[in-house]
Amino acid sequence: MAEVAEAPTKTKKKAVIKIKKEWCKSCDICVELCPKKVLEFRGRYPEAVRPEDCNLCLECELHCPDFAITVEESDE
């Protein structure tokens, strides 16, 4: 199941963070590398608990070895 999180309205860019649980191996790289502490483990898989803090640096996506997390700019 994909997890979708959206940021609230502001002039700042909004991030859409999706985590693919079928592919995630819970290696913890995305959680640890995020400079804004957007991600945290909720049970077995990470979740974007503070998506509003995401600055679209993409460190999590670039370093996820399992193609399990994507970050894109929201259309809104």
Binding site: K25, C27, D28, L33, E61, C64, P65, D66, T70
Partner: protein
């Protein structure tokens, strides 16, 4: 718009077999981004590999893929390239596969300056078989076949690549993901034999045996330990002592093997004409 990795994946085989936190997937993504940037035709790309964890990569990507015998990927790939010179060939190989058993083929692919790219997935051990020592294992490190510490010194992949005749030689790490993508892109665009050594992590075997921490901790080490070749030259020695340089180590333009062979064909035909 998120990067369309899945356009390049054989998604029916995902998730891949690599361990949690293994660097191979990070390199695979950088490779895919590089191929995408170059707008290469998927039907004209061949990915070849030998045996090992890194060598499982071809099965997951949507190109013509060739999973060969241990250490021999470059030799198979040489045959493919010269039979169909218009194809872009990328060989992915682990450290043991490329420089131990594959050493001879590695030297001669460099010497031939055959137009293809070799990406060495260096995780400092033979991971697939449980973590044995390889020519890239650091001195005194622990592996299953060096339980008292490695008595060997590391193989200088970049130096040997250049000395054997490779015309594009670079190094990056899985931490420096964008830089890695750039090095691979340069390697594929380069006409001639390109070697990209990627420093990465095997948290389950090598990492655990040497008590190196979590995958994230291992990744962050590369940030601390690496500086670019340019920085190495500009910074004072005490700042760069014991650092590992990354970036483009060597590049030159020299006719690749196919160009030279075309010349052979031309000379052969000319000689026969003269004798006729």
């Amino acid at each position: 718009m998120a990067f369309p990795y899945e356009d390049y994946l054989r998604a029916e085989f995902m998730p891949h077999i690599w361990c949690a936190g293994c660097g191979h997937g990070i390199i695979m993504k950088a490779l895919i981004r590089a191929i995408d940037s170059l707008k290469l035709d998927k039907n004209k790309v061949v990915i070849a590999s030998g045996i090992g964890c890194a060598s499982r990569l071809p099965g997951y990507v949507d190109f013509d893929t060739l999973h060969t015998t241990h250490g021999r990927a470059l030799a198979f790939a040489t045959g493919v390239k010269l039979a169909r010179p218009e194809l872009s060939i990328i060989v992915v190989s682990g450290d043991g596969d490329a420089i131990a058993i594959g050493g001879n083929h590695f030297l001669h692919a460099c010497q031939r300056n055959i137009d293809m790219t070799l990406v060495i997935f260096n995780n400092f051990n033979y991971g697939m078989t449980g973590g044995q020592v390889s020519p890239s294992t650091p001195y005194s490190a622990f592996t299953t076949t060096t339980p008292y510490g490695n008595p060997n010194y590391q193989f200088d992949v970049l130096g040997i690549s250049k000395a054997a005749g490779a015309t594009y030689v670079a190094r990056s790490t899985t931490y420096h993901a964008r830089h890695l993508e750039k090095m691979i892109l340069g390697a594929i665009s380069h006409k001639g034999f390109s070697v990209v050594e990627v420093l990465e992590d095997c948290p389950i075997a090598y990492g655990r045996r040497n008590r190196m921490g979590t995958p994230a901790q291992m990744l962050k080490r590369w940030k601390e330990m690496c500086v670019t070749f340019d920085a190495m030259k500009k910074l004072p020695p005490w700042r760069v002592k014991d650092k590992i340089p990354i970036g483009l180590y060597h590049q030159e333009e020299r006719p690749d093997f196919w160009e030279e062979y075309q010349e052979t064909i031309r000379k052969a035909k000319e000689e026969v004409q003269r004798e006729a």
